[in-house]
């Protein structure tokens, strides 16, 4: 073992004080859950608590901190992740700061993201990672952005942002959805030619093909998916790269997953159970029509899914089910470490993005989780990687 696995701390900043009984009274904790369920006084405490948790990731030695964008929901309170990333930029010294990512098709002016990311890249002297996504289906309801144009807007916004970062301005951008006479980015990005671009996805062949194209070679992140899907989509990326004549090294692939580590397997399961179940059952609760508005998937994928009726029920989401499917890493440090190492060996990803606070998990448990994870999972794996002979002798 001689790889250098990268460890990232991912946060969603959920509204952990959510009255879970309220969710049952509505279709979802997205789009239509009344915001009278949000108490700004609690919100004040939560934002500051979550920023503390992320900042702690710097001192605990993580490679990076990750925030992301979601709208009108209790699942993640970062409608503008750049604000949170900006706060972290000045309060941290070593870690990378990753916005994973901005939902490009929702934007009426993608240059705002090119600018925002360039500022973060300048302030941190290149500790910045850019993420581009299409957002969750529910966001197309909240922002009234047309999901049937999601793919074309994503590609056009991406092209505009990358050109804004790399071409000398002013230049004209003449697209279908975006038109500018004078693209002329001040500030230019610190990293040249531009900050690294990561593509988080729940897995789609079109996205993987696009990210793995030799002109891009973007880091592909699989988020909150069963391990079987993780393996399938990462293999697709590796195969696609190979077809295009390049080899996808592990640093091109990342896995984002909620994780809870404690003194023993039993303690971990008992402490995590209500909070991970709240995460998957309440915070992610939405009807299929909200999750997958028309056009969010390609027509062919949608037709296949409707024929198979697979979108209607995605299976149970209790603790055992999400542990068994690999949608949740949970146990003693040894259990979690062995699991990561096994998956890594089988699948070949080099970045692991753990979400160590999830759903209703309180601060004390989140901190304990982070400390044990940093020392006994991340720390141990790093030691093994630094001294392969010693690890082999164990």
């Amino acid at each position: 073992m001689s790889k250098n696995t990268e460890f990232y701390l991912f946060h969603l900043m959920p509204y952990a004080d959510l009255d879970l009984t309220q969710v049952e009274k509505h279709d979802s904790s997205w789009v239509t859950l009344p915001n009278s369920n949000y108490d700004p006084k609690k919100g004040h405490l939560l934002y500051n608590r979550y920023l503390d948790e992320l900042e702690m990731g710097d001192t605990l030695g993580f490679d990076g901190l990750c925030v992301n964008e979601h709208h009108s929901n209790a699942y993640g309170l970062m409608p503008n992740p750049g604000v949170l990333a900006g706060m972290l930029a000045r309060r941290t010294k070593n870690v990378k700061i990753a916005v994973l990512g901005r939902a490009l098709p929702l934007l009426n002016n993608p240059i705002t993201v090119a600018e925002e990311f360039a500022i973060l890249d300048n302030v941190t002297a290149g500790r910045f990672v850019a993420g581009f996504v299409r957002g969750i289906g529910a966001e197309y309801f909240s922002w009234n952005s047309n999901p049937a144009m999601s793919h074309e807007r994503f590609h056009e916004a991406h092209d505009l942002i990358v050109q804004a970062w790399t071409r000398e301005g002013p230049f004209a951008f003449e697209g279908k959805h975006y038109n500018f006479n004078y693209v002329n980015l001040w500030p230019r990005p610190y990293q040249q030619p531009h900050p690294p671009i990561w593509i988080p996805s729940q897995g789609s062949t079109e996205t993987i093909e696009w990210a793995a194209h030799p002109s891009r070679r973007y880091v592909y992140l699989q988020t909150f998916s069963p391990v079987a899907m993780l393996a399938k989509f990462m293999k697709e990326y590796q195969n696609s790269a190979e077809r295009h004549g390049w080899q996808a090294t592990p640093d091109r692939l990342g896995w984002a997953v909620p994780c809870y580590v404690a003194e023993t397997d039993e303690i971990a399961r008992n402490e995590a159970r209500p909070h991970i179940e709240a995460f998957y059952q309440k915070f992610l609760r939405m009807p299929p029509e909200m999750l997958l508005p028309p056009g969010y998937l390609s027509l062919k994928s949608m037709q296949g899914m409707l024929r198979a009726k697979t979108q209607l029920r995605s299976g149970p989401k209790d603790l055992d089910a999400v542990i068994d499917s690999g949608m949740f890493l949970c146990g003693s440090a040894k259990t979690v470490r062995d699991q990561i190492l096994r998956y890594q060996q089988d699948i070949g990803f080099g970045k692991i993005l753990t979400m160590l606070q999830f759903g209703t998990l309180p601060h004390e448990l989140a901190v304990k989780n982070m400390q044990i994870y940093a020392r006994d999972v991340m720390g141990e794996i790093r030691k093994m990687e630094a001294a392969p002979a010693m690890a082999a002798a164990k």
Binding site: S145, N146, P293, P294
Partner: protein, 259 residues
């Protein structure tokens, strides 16, 4: 019973699926969001008096999805080419829901080939403060239950087994409806500005119990189109041609006689 022709015609580069039957003056039926791939009883009845054209809109059903199709205005321009292609004159246009919206957009652009229009619970305009329901949050079952007022009729529709082809076409139709009508939902603010220029004899038909576009919208269309007549059908949901076929046909015949 007249013979129905089921054929394809390429217009504006789009291979279009068309059903055509009957004799008489031309009648162009413009379907709503759920498409129109089958010859329905009300079409057969209209075919006694009219040469009935039932195209599936570009992007719907068995018609191709052309690269130029982004909004309802594109479909309106397409149907001007369609009527020219077949050399149609004195056309009776019957548009339901999305199809009624298309009919209005056609009439605003060029009514020369049209004699009269029947708008059946049309989309296209807004009544501020009275939003349309969000059909994109309805699943297949709730859609049927919400479109029909009669529960028995909804149950009968739901009992019909869905083939894989139906399922595929349903996804395709839904995708195109989103493309055309997601934002702003089911309307075009520019149409509001110009619909008053429509000078065609117009009948607006609405189901009293329409759960998608509330019956209050009928008044909006009456105000917007000079001389428009409104007929409300009692105990009826969003698709009167299917739910109250007899009343629907009588309304069209009465209007055709009078205009």
């Amino acid at each position: 019973m007249s013979e129905v022709k089921d054929f394809y015609e390429t217009i504006e580069g789009c291979k279009t699926h068309i059903l055509r039957g009957g004799q008489g003056a031309p009648l162009l039926f413009l379907h709503g969001a759920n498409g129109a791939g089958r010859w329905m009883p009300f079409m057969a009845d209209l075919a006694k008096d009219f040469d009935v054209f039932v195209p599936e809109h570009p992007g719907y059903g068995k018609s191709d999805t052309p690269p130029w199709l982004d909004n309802v205005g594109d479909l309106a321009n397409y149907y001007l080419s369609f009527m020219k292609h077949f050399g149609l004159k004195d056309v009776t246009v019957v548009g339901t829901s999305m199809g009624g919206w298309i009919a209005c957009e056609i009439a605003v652009r060029d009514p020369a080939r049209i004699k009269r229009q029947v708008l059946v619970a049309p989309a296209g305009l807004r009544v501020i403060g009275t939003p349309v329901a969000d059909l994109f949050l309805w699943n297949a079952e709730t859609t049927v239950r919400n479109l029909f007022h009669s529960k028995e009729m909804a149950e009968r529709m739901l009992a019909i087994p869905m083939t894989e082809e139906d399922s595929d076409i349903g996804a395709k139709n839904r995708l195109m409806t989103a493309r055309l009508a997601w934002s702003p939902r089911l309307c075009n603010p520019d149409l509001e500005k110009w619909i008053h220029r429509v000078e065609l004899p117009t009948l607006v038909v609405w189901g009293r119990n329409d759960a998608l576009i509330p019956v209050a919208y009928a008044e909006r269309f009456r105000e917007a189109i000079p001389g428009a007549k409104v007929q409300i059908i009692e105990d009826c949901g969003h698709i009167p041609h299917a739910e109250k076929t007899t009343e629907f046909l009588a309304a069209i015949r009465g209007f055709a006689k009078a205009s």
